[in-house]
């Protein structure tokens, strides 16, 4: 969608500010947010494309707030949408029983999970329509859903640089809720 997240080429955000000796996290809640959300990716409670789509659908003013608040927003929305949490549980903070069919990851497996090769690469033998050096034009599309085609390239011409192989198309995968892969961890 043509949202606030699609920032390439926009004006008005000013100079880039850099923090000297920036820590990995700036607050305890950021640390917990990263650990929680990544745990749930590893448990395949949701996948990365649908998660990005949730972030893109945030109200622009909320999107521009603290970075890791986007993570918490997207994860919460997906847990509610998938029925892993009820609205009553989310609002009260009180769990009504345990979730079923969730394999929690063990702490000891975390280093290997973070070292594993995970991506959207597919094994299907799909012939490439274009080869390196071919001239192409990006489609000028404005879908209401997730796309990795940013506005600034739509309708533009360019040359194919490299054939990276066959990958899942995030635009369509974001519309599925399968617990299949996360491209993140697990």
């Amino acid at each position: 969608m043509d949202g606030i997240h699609d920032m390439g080429g926009m004006d008005g955000f000013g100079a880039v500010e850099r923090e000297a000796e920036e820590p990995v996290f700036h607050a305890e809640w950021e640390r917990r947010a990263v650990g929680m959300v990544m745990s749930m990716f590893a448990q395949r409670l949701f996948h990365l494309d649908e998660y990005r789509q949730k972030i893109e659908r945030m109200a622009p003013i909320a999107y521009l707030g603290p970075y890791y608040a986007r993570w918490i927003h997207a994860a919460s929305e997906l847990l509610l949408e998938k029925g892993l949490l009820s609205r009553a549980e989310f609002e009260s903070g009180a769990a009504a029983g345990k979730a079923e069919d969730v394999d929690l990851i063990a702490a000891a497996t975390v280093p290997d999970l973070l070292r594993a090769r995970i991506s959207g690469r597919e094994t299907d033998d799909v012939p490439a329509r274009f080869k390196p050096s071919d001239a192409v034009r990006a489609r000028n599309i404005h879908p209401q859903y997730h796309t990795r085609t940013p506005r600034y390239v739509r309708g533009k011409t360019g040359l194919v640089e490299r054939d990276y192989g066959v990958f899942t198309l995030p635009d369509s995968y974001a519309q599925t809720q399968a617990r299949r892969r996360s491209t993140f961890i697990a």
Binding site: F25, R32, E89
Partner: protein, 202 residues
């Protein structure tokens, strides 16, 4: 913004929200708090730019390694036991006297975590994401990096899967340094493309 350094401030909205959510997720059996701790520990102690720096230093001292790395990064990364989360489909971009490479993610914050750690705030900022693809030379000049006009600037916008690592030029005067000493000179900024590697490690 968060006020966490000032003990007289109440906790931020985010702090309260995250605390309540974590407690609910534990009670509901949706997360294991020990695994949460283990993930945080990895990002604070194991996963960072030193991983990418090892790769750069090896590429500088071993031209056959550099060729393998540029041709197909994953097997070359395995030789050094690095890569993984958000760095499973890595493309290495070699800076030369003719080309300077710069990495951005205009749509979100994609970044080669397993090689560089979690991205810094500036990389995720609207200012960087909006300007890197529009006027990269002016942006780099603000970072103190003036690229000569005859040198091409290539900006690489991360997609859903591909993660880029810039292979900076080896600075002159480092011929006598060991691979480990070279790795210590390589900065995160140089591997994203907003800086160069200095022979003094500045």
């Amino acid at each position: 913004m968060t006020g966490d350094h000032d003990h007289t401030d109440p906790p931020s909205d985010e702090a309260l929200r995250v605390k309540a959510l974590e407690s609910l997720l534990v009670d509901k059996g949706l997360i294991n708090p020990d695994a949460v701790d283990a993930i945080i520990e990895q990002f604070e102690t194991q996963i960072g730019p030193h991983n990418g720096a090892k790769v750069v230093a090896r590429a500088w001292v071993d031209s056959a390694y550099r060729a393998r790395l540029i041709d197909d990064a994953w097997p070359a990364l395995q030789e050094l036991d690095v890569g993984g989360v958000e760095a499973s489909e890595v493309v290495v971009l070699e800076n030369t006297e003719d080309v300077h490479n710069l990495v951005v993610c205009t749509l979100c914050s994609c970044y080669p975590w397993a090689l560089l750690g979690l991205p810094p705030s500036w990389y995720k900022s609207p200012a960087y994401r909006s300007r890197a693809v529009k006027d990269p030379r002016a942006l780099l000049a603000e970072f103190g990096l003036k690229i000569p006009t005859e040198r091409e600037v290539r900006v690489w916008d991360s997609n859903a899967d591909i993660r880029y690592l810039v292979l900076p030029e080896r600075p002159a005067g480092t011929e006598d340094l060991s691979e480990n000493d070279l790795a210590a000179l390589v900065t995160r900024d140089a591997m994203v493309g907003i800086g160069l590697v200095s022979p003094s490690g500045d």
